[in-house]
């Protein structure tokens, strides 16, 4: 009897400690200030804020020089800036008027969406203004956001050119697939951008790798014929080939061989971004990144607070009802209930679960489930013929059949890449596990009156 009372007192103290840790925190002194060592909640964009980028259709013009045969020329100007004989200069819009159609705006939006998904962005909004083609992009704020925004406006025009004559040798229309790959070497892991060409491209690539090589003449002088690999007329690299490529796959080394995992991850990221640009369709319209700012959540904080207070009030009323109906047992069960929620919140912090509005909806379901779970135990305790062991077995078995399908749903959602969906899964998973284990160890022990 005495031991039972001691155990219950200890459990109550543990519950109070869990509640204090969860709702207040653990503060330690660090460099003359007190900091909370409990990890912060990770909030999704709809709760915290997002980087908002405005992409405008490029309305600028470029001067294009044509030779006498009507071909675009890169060296049509004399040293003094005048045009060579037979050459003409025209001002051409980057985006001619005829391509500025709703269809092309929609196509550009779809390509950007595809790129974002391939970049692994798990939570974004894209809005298109059909009148002027303007696209508003809302992204999570993290260490990759700036790099992503720098790459998102590329049209994706991949070309292999002769470095000297600028003749286009191969272009995006011959690309079958592009991806980031890596291999282990004696010096570490090396990351490659692997570009696979179709049959036509494969034959052309073989020809290029036989032509653009380093040669040594009779006098021992070396000459190299180089190619340029460009994206949107920007040179990625210039190189020549030391061996003929017959398999139709061009592998370009990104960075250097490394044993540092962070460095390797960074190279993989770079390679993956370029691969995405090459692999996704070419954008019909060139966009410019106009503005790029971080905006806090549009959620009305006052409304959110009111909703939180309503939930707390409903929970409080329900617990008070339990205390009134079941007296001391009701009070102990209510205390245990609050401890369970507090523990779940600590678990969510430590498991880096992103909290979104959708995850909060899952939390509401868990609050209801935990309440009915504990209420079931209390109701069965009224029956003095049943031992606590039998009651626990009955309630756990009953809830196993209800919680198991929810566990299946939560596991399914957890594997989805879209953050608001995966956050529901993770919250539900940890919630179900916590309810089951916590109530077995804490609630049942607290409510056990057997000697």
């Amino acid at each position: 009897m005495k031991n039972n009372r001691l155990l219950k007192t200890l459990i109550i103290l543990i519950i109070i400690a869990i509640c204090l840790i969860s709702f207040v925190g653990i503060f330690v002194k660090d460099k003359n200030q007190r900091i909370n060592i409990l990890p912060d909640y990770l909030l999704s964009t709809n709760l915290s804020g997002a980087r908002v980028a405005k992409l405008d259709v490029d309305t600028s013009s470029n001067e294009v020089i044509y030779d006498s045969e009507g071909n675009v020329s890169q060296d049509g100007e004399n040293e003094d800036g005048t045009l060579k004989e037979g050459y003409t200069k025209k001002e051409e819009k980057v985006n001619p008027d005829e391509i500025l159609t709703v269809e092309n705006y929609e196509k550009s939006k779809r390509i950007i969406e595809k790129r974002l998904k391939e970049y692994g962005v798990q939570d974004f909004n894209l809005r298109l203004n059909n009148n002027n083609g303007q696209i508003i992009l809302e992204l999570p704020e993290n260490s990759n956001t700036d790099t992503l925004l720098a790459n998102i406006t590329y049209v994706g025009k991949f070309e292999i050119l002769d470095s000297d004559t600028k003749e286009v040798l191969l272009d995006y229309s011959k690309v079958k697939d592009a991806k980031a790959v890596y291999s282990n070497t004696d010096f570490g892991t090396r990351v490659f951008l692997s570009i696979e060409f179709n049959d036509e491209g494969k034959a052309k690539l073989e020809e290029i790798t036989k032509t653009y090589i380093e040669t040594t003449d009779e006098e021992g002088n070396k000459t190299t014929k180089k190619i340029s690999i460009n994206i949107d007329d920007e040179t990625l690299l210039e190189t020549y080939f030391s061996e003929t490529i017959t398999n139709g796959t061009l592998q370009l080394s990104i960075g250097s061989a490394s044993t540092d995992s962070e460095e390797i991850a960074s190279y993989l990221d770079q390679a993956a971004q370029v691969a995405t640009l090459i692999d996704s369709n070419i954008m019909p319209i060139k966009y410019n990144l106009d503005t790029n700012t971080y905006l806090s959540s549009a959620l009305n904080k006052d409304i959110l607070q009111i909703v939180m207070y309503i939930i707390i009030a409903i929970v409080a009323i329900a617990l008070v009802y339990e205390c009134v109906k079941y007296k001391l047992k009701g009070l102990l069960a209510s205390l245990s209930y609050i401890g369970c929620i507090a523990l779940l919140l600590i678990v969510l912090r430590y498991t880096n679960v992103v909290i979104s509005l959708e995850a909060i909806s899952a939390l509401i379901i868990l609050l209801i489930l935990n309440y009915t779970f504990v209420k079931n135990i209390l109701e069965k305790l009224e029956n003095k013929d049943l031992s606590i062991k039998e009651i626990t077995k009955q309630v756990y078995l009953k809830y196993a059949w209800i919680l198991f399908p929810l566990l299946l749903v939560s596991i399914t959602f957890t594997f989805m890449s879209w953050i608001p969906v995966s956050s529901i899964g993770m919250v539900m998973f940890w919630g179900i596990v916590t309810i089951y284990i916590y109530n077995y160890i804490i609630t049942v022990t607290l409510l056990n009156d057997e000697k």
């Binding site: 203004n129 508003i136 549009a298 399908p405 749903v409």
Partner: protein, 220 residues
């Protein structure tokens, strides 16, 4: 029993009517969206100094009147914010700029506002990320229900659950359409709560039926 059946029939008819009216309403009147999800004007205000949100709210309400206004902080330096309204005329924008410059003693030559016309977020873009996860999890749940409640009839249980899920979400959408409730940031969380509650309610119902059937069989 007859009355219960009669009531059930009435409920089904009412639900069907609501769904039909909802579908008609969607095609005729289209859905209503909150300010942030529909076309709107976002005015970025760069004050360059700390501000009190109450003061900004007061000035905005004087300028924009009864319009719904949303305030969002830009960056974390507390010196700029975004004011979102449905529509803003040139006069209103000029008026806002004048009042803000007056309040925060900013030079009249300085540009402090940047006006952006923001397009709407399409309904299908809001729902699309949830479609595949919901389909996969529904298939998983239906498979579980079919196996677990084999004794109650695979087709009966899976069809009942499937129908309940479809009808509950259709009912929610119809209520939103008929009531012209704006679709916004809370809509998908509510749809998910409904989805989970329907699964829980159905499972509890099936468990009771199964327990009853098992008891009857054991009595025989």
């Amino acid at each position: 029993m007859k009355e219960l059946l009669k009531n059930k029939k009435l409920i089904y008819i009412v639900i069907a009517l609501i769904i039909i009216i909802g579908i008609i309403s969607i095609f005729v009147l289209r859905l209503n969206f909150t300010l942030m999800y529909s076309e709107h004007t976002r005015i970025n205000v760069y004050l360059g100094k700390n501000y009190e949100l109450q003061d900004i709210k007061q000035i905005s309400q004087e300028v924009f009147g009864d319009q719904e206004i949303i305030y969002q902080e830009i960056e974390t330096f507390h010196d700029s914010l975004a004011i979102t309204v449905k529509q803003a005329t040139e006069e209103q924008i000029t008026n806002l700029e004048t009042k803000l410059k007056e309040k925060y003693e900013i030079d009249s030559e300085e540009e402090i506002l940047q006006v952006n016309e923001v397009g709407h977020l399409r309904g299908r873009d809001i729902v699309r990320p949830y479609i595949i996860p919901m389909i996969i999890s529904t298939l998983v749940i239906l498979a579980y229900v079919g196996i677990r409640y084999l004794n109650l009839g695979v087709f009966r249980t899976t069809f009942t659950l499937f129908l309940r899920l479809i009808i509950s979400e259709a009912l929610l959408l119809s209520v939103i359409a008929i009531g012209r409730i704006p679709i916004g940031i809370y809509t998908m969380p509510v749809a998910i709560i409904l989805y989970l509650l329907v699964i829980i309610y159905s499972i509890i119902g099936f468990e009771k039926k199964l327990a009853k059937k098992n008891m009857e069989e054991s009595k025989k």
